[in-house]
Amino acid sequence: MSVDLYIPIWQYSHMEIDRAEPLNLLFGALADPTRRAILARLALGDADVSELMKPFNLTQPTISKHLTVLERAGLVTRGRDAQRRPRNLVAAALKDAADWIEPFRRQWESRFDNLDSHLSSMKKKEK
């Protein structure tokens, strides 16, 4: 019980409050595999809704819904071409998210690096 009561207090004193909301939007947007795939597609170049529908086999409303979430998170913007309304990837926003979890990722990376080399030594012993 004390965990849930305690953490919010810790959070208020340590977290940068104004950063919390954009980060929630950002990570919320990145949590969905389809949206990550859309971002991966946009990383190759801008695309409009119909161009995004094809590879993902999704309906226009579904794609639009995902794009709205991505736009709100600041990950995607609309291009100037009024006819086509292509979407562009905002690389800086994606980098923000990556930077934020990078130290955490590196901690686990070293641990799994250890595991990787330990597995090699286990394999040698098996032989």
Binding site: M1, S2, V3, D4, Y6, I7, P8, W10, Q11, H14, M15, A20, N24, F27, G28, L30, A31, A37, A40, R41, L44, P55, F56, W100, I101, P103, F104, R105, R106, Q107, W108, E109, S110, R111, F112, D113, N114, L115, D116, S117, H118, L119, S120, M122, K123, E126
Partner: protein, 157 residues
């Protein structure tokens, strides 16, 4: 779908905010059996768990549902040990445990000889999740999970 960018010697981290879960994936060129053994046999866990590479001082594993485990780091008494309870043991594909107020799940999939490992950490709340991630940031340059363990260890009910 475009191919997922994936380097074999790399750990991918995904933060799933809807489920308050952190998901880590990594591929190993070893069988699932071997990876499962590395996670569940104390003589093996002791060799890799400490991210700085130092062998664990103590590694106790009672491998059965409800059984306890305890990993004690070497030479750093200020760091509480990593301890918890096993919830599910299904070799060679799945291991579930509870520790630091979170549920840890290790899923091992066979990819034609290599193993895709997915480790998910399901936190109790959004704040709990932030705390997990924030710890790494506060540590500045990474080396270990020690700060995280030390902090959350102090919170245990």
């Amino acid at each position: 779908m475009p191919p997922r960018s994936h380097t074999p010697a790399n750990t991918e981290v995904i933060v799933d905010r809807t489920n308050n879960t952190i998901i880590l994936t990594r591929e190993f060129s070893a069988s699932r059996e071997l990876v499962f053994g590395a996670w569940t046999q104390p003589e093996h866990v002791a060799c890799w768990w400490d991210s700085s590479g130092i062998r664990l001082n103590k590694c106790e594993i009672d491998l059965r549902p409800g059984g306890a485990f305890r990993f004690v780091h070497q030479g750093r008494p200020e760091i509480p040990h990593f301890a918890g309870i096993y919830r599910k043991i299904a070799p060679p594909g799945e291991l579930v445990f509870e520790a630091m107020g979170a549920i840890g799940k290790v899923i091992l999939e066979d990819l034609d000889g290599t193993t895709l490992m997915t480790v998910s950490i399901a936190c109790a709340s959004a704040a709990h999740l932030d705390q997990f991630l924030q710890m790494g940031v506060d540590a500045g340059t990474s080396q270990t999970l020690d700060n995280l363990v030390a902090y959350i260890g102090g919170l245990k009910r």
